[in-house]
């Protein structure tokens, strides 16, 4: 969930100065509309790691918004009065009325996460708390509340740097105490617990927006624009969507994209390739034949740009496996039978038995890629798909299946070269369709969809591996090595 927030997002001073006045004006305008129409309340929930600029952002928002229609509540240790009521009472009493914006600095997530990280509470207790939270947020959505949940993130080195910087400055020194450094030492545990919490509570109607907290201008602009977009969407739908059941995606405000972070020049010479291929195919074969793996199984997902080399990579895997124990499942447009079922049905039917491997050539991610971009799925449907997919994959991994997901990435130029090559080569011509050229025209939109997909579905148990695929040798070996190592890790 956090990888996309570690790309080093930033907004330069010039852009910021140019954009802020317009943003502030637009925010005031929608806020005015909200207050006038009084149709629904808005909750802006602010959580995340220490030092990621939560407080600063809350201050900025209070500066930008009309303070008469905003109530900010900071939740720290509960008061006497609050302790003597059920835990949710403090949040109920702070709920904003219709037409108002409530900024919650800290929330119903703080205690469950901290009691798991620091308080020694069990995983089951956390699960129970999350289940209650899911019901509560569903109730809020049913009651029409627009809930925008922001999670401010910093990588471990960034957090250290930030705490140091705060300490150095006389004016901000007071903000860093021993407790902050204590929390920093628990960074890894905090990260893994909160990642699990975000995965489980990022629903279609109330998804988490993960904010890269390292750049002040970026985070302010992102939060402001997300609020603007969320409000505009709800105000536009008005009474048509009283339940507020479809959430939003963070707008793209800079060019940082998980795909752009890849070094597509990565390559492997022919000799190295031959040697590595033999090595990893041998290890893969062995890993798939252990007694441990016989009690597990694996699901391998291939997604990628058109002509990125999915088929070739799959064949290199298949060549290493015993045909009785794997199956390649090509996913094309759904059949009539499949269309008459819930979306995930056509993937459930292909799940492998224990000890077997199912290799999906394209997959359930079509929902948030082609179906999103081409408008084949309604927005509410693909927005809720992220959570449903995470749940689907969690059911598989809990059952013991190893989930390995690859995105094969090529550059736009390389794709052009390959398309042309396909046109020129007789036996490859069938692989190129008019649709491929059409998709290519939407390169940027697809890139955005891939970015959101990775951000929302890169879970601890089912992580994405992004593969630099301009060089086929490099791509194939990276795929083989990743898969092998994941299978070898099976106890």
């Amino acid at each position: 969930m956090f990888e996309a927030a570690e790309l080093g997002h930033s907004i330069d001073k010039e852009t910021f100065r140019r954009e802020v006045p317009a943003l502030r004006e637009a925010l005031l305008e929608v806020q005015f509309d909200l207050a006038r129409r009084k149709q629904f309340p808005v909750i802006v929930l602010v959580g995340g790691v220490e030092g990621a600029g939560k407080g600063e952002t809350v201050n900025t928002l209070n500066e930008w918004l009309d303070p008469r229609q905003v109530e900010t509540t900071a939740f720290s240790a509960p008061s006497d009065e609050e302790r003597e009521r059920p835990p949710m009472w403090r949040y109920w009493r702070a709920l904003p009325a219709k037409g108002k914006i409530g900024i919650f600095f800290g929330s119903w997530y703080s205690d469950p996460i901290l009691s798991r990280v620091e308080g020694g509470k069990s995983k089951a207790t956390l699960e129970q708390a999350l289940s209650d939270i899911l019901r509560f947020e569903r109730m809020l959505a049913d009651e029409g509340v627009l809930l925008l949940k922001f999670w401010f993130h910093l990588s471990k080195p960034q957090q250290k740097k930030r705490l140091r910087a705060l300490e150095k400055d006389k004016l901000t020194r007071w903000r860093v105490g021993p407790q902050d450094w204590q929390r920093y030492r628990r960074y890894d545990r905090f990260r893994s617990v909160s990642e699990a919490v975000l995965e489980r509570t990022s629903t279609g109607h109330a998804p988490w927006i993960v904010v890269d907290g390292s750049d002040e201008r970026y985070r302010s602009l992102l939060v402001g624009k997300t609020i603007l977009q969320g409000l505009r969407k709800r105000l536009a739908n008005g009474a048509a969507e009283p339940n507020g059941l479809s959430g939003i995606l963070a707008p793209s405000i800079d060019t940082a994209n998980v795909l752009d972070a890849l070094d597509l020049t990565a390559a492997l010479g022919q000799q190295d390739y031959a040697r590595e291929l033999e090595r990893w195919q041998g290890r893969l074969n062995a890993a798939a034949r252990t007694g441990g793996f016989a009690k597990r199984g694996a699901v391998v997902v291939f997604e990628g740009h058109d002509a990125a080399g999915k088929g070739g990579a799959i064949r290199r895997i298949a060549a290493a496996l015993d045909a009785r124990f794997y199956r390649v499942v090509p996913i094309a447009a759904p059949t009539d039978e499949e269309r008459a079922q819930p979306y995930l049905w056509r993937f459930w039917r292909h799940l492998p038995r224990l000890g077997h491997i199912a290799i999906f050539d394209r997959s359930w991610y079509g929902r948030v890629l082609v179906e999103r971009v081409e408008g084949f799925a309604a927005e509410a449907d693909w927005l809720r798909a992220y959570a449903e997919i995470n749940e689907f994959e969690a059911e598989m991994t809990r059952h013991g299946l190893v989930m390995v997901k690859f995105w094969l990435a090529i550059s736009k130029q390389e794709q052009f070269r390959r398309f042309k090559e396909r046109e020129a080569t007789g036996f490859k011509r069938f692989k190129l369709t008019a649709e491929d050229w059409r998709n290519r025209k939407k390169w940027g939109v697809y890139a955005r969809a891939v970015h959101d997909m990775v951000e929302r579905t890169n879970t601890a148990a089912a992580p994405w591996t992004l593969v630099e695929a301009n060089d086929k040798n490099h791509a194939r070996i990276k795929v083989l090595r990743t898969l092998t190592q994941r299978l070898e890790a099976v106890k």
Copy 2:
């Protein structure tokens, strides 16, 4: 949840013979419409106790419905193939296609309940399973599936009788094995676990319909009519409600009502009343002053027919308590401020501190009583309120609050007498409004709403006490005694 199914519902032979042909015709008709339009699939889920007629009802349905559009799947022990996939796989593969009806005999509820009752699995494991089920059913609803969940119930004596009867008959003897008697011996545990499961999973979009399994004609007719009603409602809404988010209530097919089961002649002479009043007020006072209670607190809810004597009963409680530690909260129409908040907000704000008692003169149940009957709330909103109320009360009881809920019941004649008396008595006249007379005209509709309310919200931790209130003395003492005993039970 089960009390309403223990009223001894029954349908006489004559009525059954008369109604079945029309029901069958109507079922075939909607089924035809469903198959033709292919807009959504229907799942009829059948669960419950042994011997409550689940199998017979499934057979009856198969007889009544067009078999070409129905697929019945009985889930017993999973097959090899199923065991080697994630637990939900077997249900996914059995999902009916759009336009079809799938009858699930046994379901995703069976294993979580049985592993808790018999398999020694922990409460946390059950909670996790329920949380997964809630997501799964939400996904089904989002995908448009109409899910009708029937729970077949028998009281313990009824189950014993039924198993004995089956054993006696040569033709059915084979159906009762040692396992059934073993389960019978675990009846109480099974009942309490399944009650908790039903409470938690009876959502607005997929509520449980509890079926009194003791009368064959009743249960067949109820299930048939519920399916008919559910299908008609969805087909009427068509594309307008693609998400199928609003569930249904079981239709009322006989006159049995929780209120009719009360003996309203119960009365207490003036001398007995005086003695009992002193006794219970004394004990109540003591119970509210213990150290144990100081760490808890209580919420007392009064609902009842107009002029049933809520005020008088509340005053008898108040007289026994220290004014610093209780508060009477009269609930009238919501204020503007309250209307601008989620429905339950105006009740949350009045929750008592530890050691305190809040007495609600009318309550959150207004949503499923007056708001339902008068159409102040949309159907989807009051239908989801049952689950939200159960959750609200569960949050209170988990926090330690003792929840005591009273319904004060009088007969229609007695109400008339009291209305007339109020009209005649100067200082009581203000208590009678035109609205009271209006409500009275809807006596039957209110009775139905009360019945549904008790069925859906009579939970183990927050049970209803129905009070026969034609005689005020009897009513006041029953209220005092019930409240006192609940507080005395606090450790």
